[in-house]
Amino acid sequence: MTQLTGHSSALDFAQPEPVDMASGKYVKLWQGPQHPGITGNMSLELTLDGDTIIDCKTHVGYLHRGFEKLMERRSFIQNFTVVCRIAVPEPTFNEYLYSHAVEQLSGIKIPERAIWLRTMNLELMRLASFLMWIGGMSGAFGQYTVPNWTTAYRDFVLDLFEEMTGARIYHMYIVPGGVRAGLPDGFEKRARDIMDGAEKLLDQVERVMFNNAVFKARSKGLGIITPDMIDPYGIVGPNARACGVERDIRKDEPYLAYDQLNFETITGKDSDAYERAYLRLQETRQCISLIRQCLDKAPKDGPFQADMPNVLHWKIPAGETYVKAECTRGEYGYYMVTDGSEFVRRVHVRGPSYTHAIAVMERLAVGNNIADIAGLMVSLHTYPPEIER
């Protein structure tokens, strides 16, 4: 049993001591893929000593669809419809990054209005994603009221998406060259109403969830991430910020309209499940503020799409690029290589779930009670479809 204390053990990547399964002292337990406590379709192979986890192995591959291969045989315009399916609860980040990479390689400059609409779209997505996550977090600790509130409220945000983009889940709104449409009439008012309601809801959530004795008792001290783990494990986003590491691409290397938005990076002190959850709650509030700023500042008219070639035989000059953006879970990146043909030569999608759900999860699970494994997993905010693509 490895206890994560101090600097040296955090960097200790040695395999845990092999356990003698034949002794009958230990039990091997598969949690998932069919298990309600798992976020999505993946599984954990747990070795238990009593109800304490002494070893955890993550198994993925249940959702592998071969996106990176699929993209190599679709044209540049077709791919943006495919990539959004990579991370189901948060498709727009894929759309944005894919489009951004293509625009970089082909030298397209998108118009101002598209930049703002994209920013707003991404922030709305962040809000929707966090709202669902809060529900998941609460549900993982056995409380079913908050999920009912926030998941239902997320639906109102999805209604906004539906109006803005024409779809609820896979918006396919951010397209290489800009966005597909402007805002519909009356959108701004409805969006502001929903933001007001969300703010009120978050206050209530904070009260009943974060001040809940049971939730506090179970989540505090659960799965502590220490600052020295950040770089070796490649931890990003709220998971990293919760232990005081100020790391936010929106601030560090501003993209889209983030340099014109007024916000501060939120950090925590010690990154346990509670701290991470609370930080996300605050980021959800920040989201609302950012969306309001976008609504204020976004140009009301003007072009929303750059001049495009005929997309049916769109060739992009040879080149390579890496583009990144801050999604709800941290740095999301696209590495793209083109060879001057009508198809992309290679795309690699770097989702933050990969490290969080595999290396970090395997490390943090050890020593915890089996009942907390679901909560721990949710607190890392991982999406299996994004791990395997």
Binding site: P33, Q34, H35, P36, G40, N41, G61, Y62, L63, H64, R65, G66, K69, L70, R73, V82, R85, V88, P89, M132, G135, P147, N148, W149, T151, A152, R154, D155, L158, R168, I169, Y170, P385
Partner: protein
């Protein structure tokens, strides 16, 4: 250890298992569901089944994303008698949430076979119908009904919760009318389904039938 239960004549090979593991599983073939001889009783049973559709909580693909709104406050499927269950043994409805990768298909089959009859399968989205988004992917199956019998398809990508509700109502209608015989179809064409499954699942290290 358990004794190997021998069926009367036609037994399963369970050939994917080692000799030791063969001891752990039955080699009996699945049996078709026989309706009650009295029609009124069967009708009553169907009515009861239709109004307590318990969904197996197994998010096999993207479709799972819309099951959350479906089950929470806004669409509140509980009022239609729908509930999520954590284990196949308690569930009567298997929702195939979109595409099935080969690795998941194996788990889907195990889970499905463990479910108690009468059981129903709903397939969400385009991928189970004809491959959908991943029709040319090397790791997903295209026409899902080659591997498991599907009682109802709800197309869309993703199908919205509203249409899921509509689908559930449609399923209820079909169950009440006694038309949902997917599970019996599976038993009747067992060998065909098995051979199709084995065509795509290369490492068949599981019993031919789990119950």
């Amino acid at each position: 250890m358990f004794k190997k239960t021998l069926n009367t004549e036609d037994t399963l090979k369970n050939s994917g298992l080692t000799d030791e593991e063969q001891q752990l599983f039955s080699n009996a073939r699945p049996q078709a569901y026989e309706p009650y001889p009295i029609k009124a009783v069967e009708d009553f049973a169907n009515w009861a089944r239709a109004n307590s559709l318990w969904i197996l909580a197994f998010g096999t693909g993207c479709g799972a994303i819309e099951l959350r709104p479906l089950m929470t406050a806004r669409f509140d499927a509980n009022r239609f008698g729908v509930a999520g269950r954590p284990t196949p043994r308690q569930s009567s409805v298997f929702v195939i949430g979109g595409y099935a990768s080969v690795k998941t298909l194996k788990r889907i089959i195990r889970s499905y076979e463990q479910m108690q009859g009468p059981k129903f399968v709903i397939a969400l989205g385009i991928c189970p119908v004809n491959g959908g988004m991943y029709f040319d992917s090397y790791n997903t199956v295209n026409q899902f009904d080659q591997y498991l019998p599907v009682d109802l398809y709800i197309t869309g990508c993703m199908p919205r919760p509203e249409v899921l509700v509509a689908g559930i109502m449609e399923l209820q209608k079909k169950i009440k009318a006694g038309e949902c015989n997917g599970a019996n179809l599976y038993v009747e064409n067992f060998d065909w389904y098995k051979s199709n499954q084995k065509k795509v699942i290369k490492n068949w290290d599981m019993p031919d039938y789990n119950w």
